[in-house]
Structures are given as structure tokens and as C-alpha cells.
């Protein structure tokens, strides 16, 4: 018994010694999924299907990048992402259908998201429990969206000024995918090279020490919640632009394998291997997590799995990644 456990702990130690080996392993795993999909599902590697993967990954990925800021800063998760998107999509479509044009509608929607995000941030920053605060906000935002739209589909006519974002592409890549890549790069640069990014990590690693060195969580909670909410609103705008309509339940019923956007986004952050407690991880991890989940999900769709097994797969991926990263972190810490 003890031999087995010491064997494993020594294995984990050596794995942790060579952190890049782990990253390499994940890349290999990713390609394994890819090749498996290629071999077993003939239409996996078609241009159309790959476009679907990167599209899906983009929508979840952008939201996950926003949420990553919250998680890294130690403020856990926002459970109101789906509802923020729901309110935002109604706001955008209503504004579009009223004829205000893309730019005005876009700004209008983003401003709403900034307000709802920062309001939640204030409450969390004052010491509110993120789960409770955002669960409450979720009901409020969804109710607001439903009330505003009367639970009806709000549609606006093509051609409209948002089509480039919804269905347009550049050099064969959907524009939303390009946006995803640009946002991912910007987010990573922000985390690595700005004071704000450093504060995200410091406060996330130890909030009390953050306060003691002059970095208060109050401002941080407001900033990160705003970022996450704006990202959710951006995704809502892109989604609405694609289907030229909006309904308040779009992100509750039609999204990803589990059908629930919030769950998918949180799964993405965790599968990427970000520390749930904050202070450790990156937006790149979340981005890769999005592509990985999206690939596996897509492959399962092609194999004819219905939503039950697909949700199961997402769940397994979360459990697996949490275990692996937790073990590696522990291994790398037990050096002295």
C-alpha cells in the first residue's frame, strides 16, 4: 500500500519537476482526440465542421476569458453569466429592431453589462459571497430580460449592420473566431505585463497579503466582474448578430452540450487548469480549454451521442483536470 502511494508520489514529483512535460502531455492528448475524431468520424475534418468547432469554442471561450479574471483574482465564479448574456441579447436586439444601428446598439448593450457587472462587483468587493450575490443577480437579470421582451423573440431584419460579426469571415476564419483570438491575446498580455494583471494574481493568491501590500479586493472585484460581464454581453451580441434575433432563453437551452452557458463557461475555466481558489492560471489555459471541450463535444455529436453522454463527458473532463492539476501543484510544492 505504502509502496504504491510512494511510487505515485514520486511519479508526481518527477512530473512536477518537468512541468513542460505535462503541458506537452496535454497537447498530445488534444491531438489524440483530434486524430481519433479524424479516423472515426469521416466528416470531422471537413472545413465546415472545423468552422463549427472554432465558432462554438469562440463563443464559450470569450466568456471563459472574462470569467478567468474573476477566478484568478480569487473571487470565485459569476453564476450570472448566462443571465447577463440573456439581458444583453434582449437589449441588443431591441435596439437593433428599433433601428438604432450596430454601433449605438453595441455601446448600449456594453454599457448595460458594465453596470450590472460593476454592481455585482461592488457587492462582492464589500464582502458578499460571490455565489450568493451572483445567484441573486442571475434571477434579477433574467427576470428583467424576460419582462422587457415579454418572453418573445425579438428579431431584426437582414441586412443589418451586425452581420459582419455574426456570419462574416476573414481569410476563411469566422470573424467571431478572430475576435476570440484577439481577445485571448489581449487578455494574456494584460495579465502578464500590466499592474492590473499582477494585482489579479496577487490578490487571488492571498487576499489578506494583497490588502497588506496595498492592493484592495474592492476595486479588483468591481473590475473583474465588469470584465466578465462585458465579455458575456459581447458573446450575446455576436450570437444575436448571427441569428438576427434574440430571446431571453437562448443561453439556457441552446448552448453547447449541456445546454447551459454558465456551466459550460465554468467548465472551460476549470478544464483549462486554473486554480479555483485564484492566484494561479492564465487566460490562455481557458482558451485552450474552450477549444478542447468544443472538439470533444463536436466529435461526440458526429458519433450520434445525445446530450446525456455529452454532459457526462464534460463532467469527466472537469473532474480529471482538477485532479491532475491539483496533484501536480501539490507535487511541485512538496519540494522542501
Amino acid at each position: 500500500m505504502s509502496n504504491i502511494s510512494s511510487y505515485f508520489s514520486s511519479k508526481i514529483d518527477s512530473l512536477a519537476d518537468n512541468y513542460s512535460a505535462l503541458v506537452l502531455g496535454l497537447v498530445v492528448l488534444f491531438f489524440a482526440v483530434f486524430i481519433f475524431g479524424m479516423v472515426t468520424a469521416p466528416n470531422f475534418l471537413t472545413y465546415f465542421n472545423l468552422k463549427t468547432i472554432v465558432r462554438d469554442a469562440a463563443l464559450v471561450g470569450i466568456m471563459a476569458i472574462g470569467l478567468t479574471f474573476v477566478t484568478l483574482s480569487g473571487n470565485f465564479f459569476l453564476l450570472s453569466l448566462k443571465e447577463t448574456a440573456a439581458l444583453a441579447i434582449i437589449a441588443f436586439a431591441t435596439s437593433m429592431s428599433a433601428g438604432y444601428g450596430f454601433e449605438i446598439s453595441f455601446l448600449f448593450t456594453i454599457v448595460i453589462a458594465m453596470l450590472t457587472g460593476s454592481a455585482q462587483g461592488v457587492l462582492i468587493g464589500l464582502g458578499g459571497n460571490p455565489i450568493v450575490v451572483t445567484l441573486g443577480a442571475a434571477g434579477l437579470l433574467y427576470g428583467l430580460g424576460a419582462y422587457w421582451s415579454d418572453n418573445l423573440v425579438v428579431s431584426f431584419r437582414r441586412p443589418h449592420g451586425a452581420e459582419w460579426l455574426g456570419t462574416g469571415s476573414f481569410l476563411g476564419l469566422p470573424n467571431i473566431t478572430i475576435a476570440f483570438i484577439l481577445i485571448a491575446i489581449a487578455a494574456e498580455l494584460t495579465l502578464r505585463f500590466t499592474n492590473f494583471g499582477r494585482q489579479v494574481y496577487l490578490i487571488g493568491a492571498n487576499r489578506a497579503a494583497g490588502r497588506a501590500t496595498g492592493h484592495e479586493n474592492f476595486g479588483m472585484a468591481i473590475k473583474t466582474c465588469t470584465i466578465a460581464s462585458v465579455c458575456a454581453a459581447f458573446v450575446a451580441i455576436a450570437f444575436s448578430a448571427q441569428v438576427s434575433s434574440a430571446q431571453v432563453n437562448y443561453f439556457s437551452s441552446e448552448f453547447g452540450s449541456s445546454g447551459d452557458m454558465t456551466i459550460m463557461v465554468i467548465a472551460t475555466v476549470m478544464v483549462g487548469g486554473n486554480s479555483i481558489m485564484g492566484g494561479y492560471g492564465s487566460t490562455i489555459r481557458s482558451s485552450l480549454g474552450a477549444v478542447f471541450i468544443s472538439s470533444v463535444d463536436n466529435m461526440m455529436v458526429l458519433h450520434g451521442f445525445n446530450s446525456g453522454p455529452r454532459v457526462l463527458a464534460v463532467g469527466l473532463m472537469i473532474v480529471f483536470s482538477i485532479m491532475v492539476f491539483a496533484l501536480v501543484r501539490r507535487g511541485s510544492r512538496s519540494q522542501e
Binding site: 500500500m1 505504502s2 510512494s6 514529483d13 518527477s14 519537476d17 505585463f193 500590466t194 499592474n195 492590473f196 494583471g197 499582477r198 494585482q199 494574481y201 496577487l202 493568491a205 492571498n206 489578506a208 497579503a209 494583497g210 490588502r211 497588506a212 501590500t213 496595498g214 492592493h215 484592495e216 486554480s275 492566484g279 494561479y280 511541485s332 510544492r333 512538496s334 519540494q335 522542501e336
Partner: protein, 506 residues
């Protein structure tokens, strides 16, 4: 006479690191064996092996002459070896009696609270807690008393060998005295006790013999009577520790650098008034809960204060937050580096630059080369291994962590340095370095105020001492008046032998 517990030729490696190199260790029954060494010398590795937390060693462990290999703490406990670790394993909301029987095979399966209290009584009296209400939740006791409950819990397992790992590290003077008394009593009753501590005075007070570990190697156990502090330190360090404490320079006392006016931190009995001069090291003496640490936190904006101001550099204010204090050049290290002194999961370089992000950035962008050179220079000033700057702070030993926790404040070039317990859980070598560095900072013109429950530290380091007793400021000692007896008297019974307390004047 064969030893009760005998370890021979014990070696343990973690990867390339050899934590123990053929260590020998023994203890007889009824003996108190001190186990000392610098941080990283191998004390914890050895203790883990004896107590069953680690069985990946080579060499042999004999208990009562029989070779044993404990693969789990439970197995060690069954064989009669119990360990009280620094982190207590009590459940705060449960009663004292319940906690005594919280685990182990002696715990009754069915019991009422009163039957448990009856059963716990002998063990509680054994550790000197006979006066404590066994129905009281453990969280209502002082930390020292909790520590004693922990030992009572272990005694209920009826161990032959009891390991106490730094039992007094978090305790004030009077609680420490209770622990020491208990150790002595247990030894008289035939228990063998392995006593791990950094506190030299305690080691000499209670240990029969002392085993010194250095760089993972053991030396033959020495009779405590044949050693003194300096020879023991020499054995631990392998070199003579010339002076633990730096010399006191002459301090020109012109105008005070910082004056504390009626600052009344939450949880203390009265407002405090004192001042500190540039170049001075001011010691705040007091036991745990005396308020000496609270006043530091209040000056630093880390703790709320009912009233009061500080007069500092022509300004009269009270910092609203640590951020406010930092902006005025006031640095503060709490007594718990893991709680709020360090970012354990972040690299050392980021820890060292954390209070001064604006100094290493331009227009919100971090200049990584500037950060590195700042970290390099401050790390070397505090003798932190500069080759490890990219490692997580969490992998460092206690002494090195404390150096990082203190060293990070160099980045803001502080004028006032407030430190609560500058060397808690820090080994002798690192302690001397920390004292030296604090003196150097004072000599460069900063004012250093430190609070400590360690009499040795107060008497050795401070140029002037202000003493605290149960939330009150009770006395002041000038350099020539500072000695262990005068300090101890002020912090234990400042109002005479009767311990009469005056009405706190508000």
C-alpha cells in the same frame, strides 16, 4: 541500558536532496530529549519518520528493542508514539472533553457529555487543565490552553513517547511556562518526550539531553548540563555566532519621527501614546493579548481604531488602510506571515515587488527587468538565495519566508518599519540576520517598532522598551534599564505582586 526508542543510520532523500544522512537518535524512558537545529537541518524529516508520516527511509527504528517501520501515523500511535504538531487537530466548536477523545482507540463508542468529562478529567489534570470546564467549547480557550488540550488528547492514547513540535511557538510567556511545567511533570511520570524548539531558554530549562541536527547529520546527544546557549548555537551552526544581537548605537533624540496620540485599537482597554525617533529600534513588550501587536496594526491601517491620530512628517492622521500607510512610507509585517505576509503560490520575485508595483512600472505596464533588479538587490540585502527568485515563496523554509516577508518592504524604501514578532518560527541563523538587517535599516535613518513576546528578543534588540499588559500601556524602559527581570516584571504583574488592576481610565 538500552534506549526506549533508537534510530540508527537513518537516511532519507527527496529526489536529489538528502534530507537525512545516516542519522542516529535515541531516547530513554522518562527522558526529555531536545531536538534542535536550524531550519532545513532535518528536524521535521526525522520527526515525520518517528511519528509514521514518512516511511521512505533507510536504516532501522527500534522501539523497546524491536525493529519497527511505521507506515502511517495511526500505526505509530498504536505502538505508543504520539505527536503534537504545530497545527492543532482540535475541533473548535466541540467541548474540551469531546476533543480529548476525538480519535484513537481509547475513545468510548457510546458516551454522554458528562461521562466523557469524567473520563477526560485525569488527562486534563495531567496537563494542568484541572481548573478548565470540560464542557467549554475549545475555541473559548487561549491558544496555550488549546495546546494543552491537544496534549491531553494524546495522553488519552497512553503513549510511551510524546513528540512536541514547537509547542510554544505561538504562545506568550505565561502559556509557555504552563507547557514547560507539563513537560516536566510528564517526564517525572516516566513518559519520554522529544521536544523540538527554536527557543534556547526552554531547551535548557527542561531537557535532560539535546540532540543537534546540522545539514541532515546528527551528533551524539549531549547532556544539557554540559552545554550553554553559545556552545549549543555553535553546534547548530557549525560556527560561532559571534553576536546574536547587533550593538546599540547612540541615537540622537531630536524631534520624534512618529508620534502616536491616543490611538485606541479595537480590542484594547485604553488609548496608547508613545513616540519613536529616527534611527531607533523601539520594542513593544507584552504577552499574547497584551495589545502590543494591535497598536502596530492600528498604526499601519490594518486594524480599526476607535480614535486617535499619528503625527508623522508634519501630517496628523490615522491610516485608513494599509495602502494609505504604505503611501506614507510606513511598512508593516504582521505576526502571521502565511496569513498576510506572503503570496505563497507566487514566485519570490513577485513577492518582493508586491508593495511597490508603481516603482517597477511605467504607465501601468510592468518593467520586468526593473522588477528583477529590484528583487535581486533586496533579496541579497536580506541574504535570500537569489538563484531561487523564480521559485514559489511557499517552498522556502520558515526563516527564508520571514526574510521575504520582511524584505519585500525594502521596495517602498520605508521610513517607519512596524514588525510584529520579527522572528517567530525562525531558526537561529536567520534570526541573527534579521536582527542585523533591522538595525541596519534603523542606522540608515528609519524608525523600527517591533512587538514581541520573546523576552530575549526584547532585551537584546530594543533601544527602548514600552510594555503592555492586558490591553494597557504600562511602562517604559530606557536602554540602561532593559533586562529580562525588569521586562518580565512589567509584562506579567505591572501593578505589584497582588496583581491589582486599576480601573481602566477612558
Amino acid at each position: 541500558m538500552t534506549a526506549l526508542l533508537e534510530l540508527t543510520n537513518i537516511s532519507r532523500s527527496f529526489g536529489a536532496i538528502k534530507a537525512l544522512k545516516s542519522v542516529d537518535f535515541e531516547i530513554n524512558s522518562g527522558e526529555v530529549m531536545g531536538l534542535v537545529g536550524e531550519n532545513g537541518a532535518g528536524k521535521s524529516s526525522l520527526v515525520k519518520i518517528i511519528s509514521g508520516f514518512d516511511d521512505g527511509y533507510t536504516g532501522s527504528l527500534r522501539l523497546n528493542g524491536v525493529v519497527q517501520r511505521f507506515s502511517s501515523p495511526l500505526k505509530a500511535e498504536r505502538s505508543g508514539i504520539a505527536i503534537a504538531q504545530q497545527e492543532l487537530s482540535l475541533i473548535p466548536a466541540m467541548t474540551v472533553a469531546e476533543n480529548v477523545f476525538i480519535s484513537g482507540e481509547k475513545a468510548p463508542i457510546f458516551a454522554t457529555k458528562s461521562s466523557l468529562a469524567r473520563k477526560a478529567a485525569p488527562f486534563l489534570s495531567e496537563v494542568g487543565l484541572e481548573d478548565v470546564d470540560p464542557f467549554l467549547p475549545v475555541e473559548r480557550l487561549s491558544i496555550g490552553e488549546q495546546q494543552l488540550v491537544e496534549v491531553a488528547r494524546l495522553l488519552a492514547q497512553e503513549p510511551q513517547v510524546l513528540i512536541l513540535d514547537e509547542p510554544t511557538a505561538a504562545l506568550g510567556e505565561s502559556d509557555s511556562i504552563r507547557i514547560l511545567g507539563m513537560v516536566r511533570r510528564l517526564a517525572e511520570r516516566g513518559k519520554s518526550i522529544i521536544y523540538v524548539s527554536h527557543r534556547m531558554d526552554e531547551i535548557f530549562k527542561i531537557c535532560n539531553r539535546i540532540t543537534v541536527l546540522r545539514d541532515g547529520q546528527s551528533q551524539e546527544a549531549k547532556d544539557a548540563k554540559r552545554l550553554d546557549v553559545s556552545s549549543l548555537v555553535e553546534l547548530m551552526l557549525g560556527r560561532e555566532l559571534a553576536h546574536m544581537f547587533p550593538a546599540h548605537p547612540k541615537i540622537p533624540r531630536g524631534e520624534a519621527l512618529l508620534e502616536v496620540h491616543n490611538v485606541w485599537p479595537d480590542g484594547t482597554l485604553e488609548p496608547f501614546n508613545f513616540s519613536v525617533f529616527a534611527g531607533e529600534i523601539l520594542g513593544l513588550a507584552g504577552q499574547l493579548g497584551s495589545g502590543s501587536g494591535d497598536i502596530l496594526a492600528a498604526i499601519a491601517g490594518a486594524k480599526r481604531s476607535r480614535e486617535g491620530r499619528i503625527k508623522y512628517k508634519g501630517e496628523s492622521f490615522l491610516p485608513k488602510s494599509p495602502k494609505h500607510a504604505i503611501s506614507r512610507g510606513i511598512a508593516y509585517c504582521s505576526d502571521d506571515r502565511k496569513l498576510d505576509g506572503l503570496f505563497l503560490g507566487r514566485p519570490i520575485v513577485e513577492n518582493l515587488s508586491a508593495p511597490a508595483l508603481s516603482a517597477i512600472s511605467k504607465r501601468g505596464l510592468i518593467k520586468h527587468d526593473k522588477e528583477r533588479s529590484l528583487a535581486l538587490s533586496n533579496a541579497s540585502k536580506f541574504t535570500i538565495d537569489t538563484s531561487r527568485l523564480d521559485n514559489e515563496a511557499g517552498v522556502l523554509s520558515g526563516g527564508n519566508q520571514q526574510k521575504v516577508a520582511l524584505g519585500k518592504w525594502l521596495a517602498i524604501e520605508p521610513n517607519v518599519i512596524l514588525v510584529n514578532e520579527p522572528t517567530r518560527g525562525v531558526d537561529v541563523g536567520a534570526r541573527a540576520e534579521i536582527y542585523g538587517k533591522l538595525r541596519e535599516l534603523a542606522n540608515e535613518g528609519a524608525a523600527v517598532i517591533f512587538a514581541s513576546t520573546d523576552i530575549q528578543e526584547i532585551t537584546g534588540l530594543a533601544d527602548r522598551v514600552i510594555s503592555f499588559y492586558r490591553g494597557m500601556q504600562v511602562g517604559e524602559l530606557q536602554l540602561t534599564e532593559i533586562n529580562p527581570a525588569s521586562v518580565l516584571e512589567q509584562i506579567t504583574h505591572p501593578f505589584g505582586v497582588d496583581d491589582k488592576q486599576p480601573e481602566p481610565h477612558h
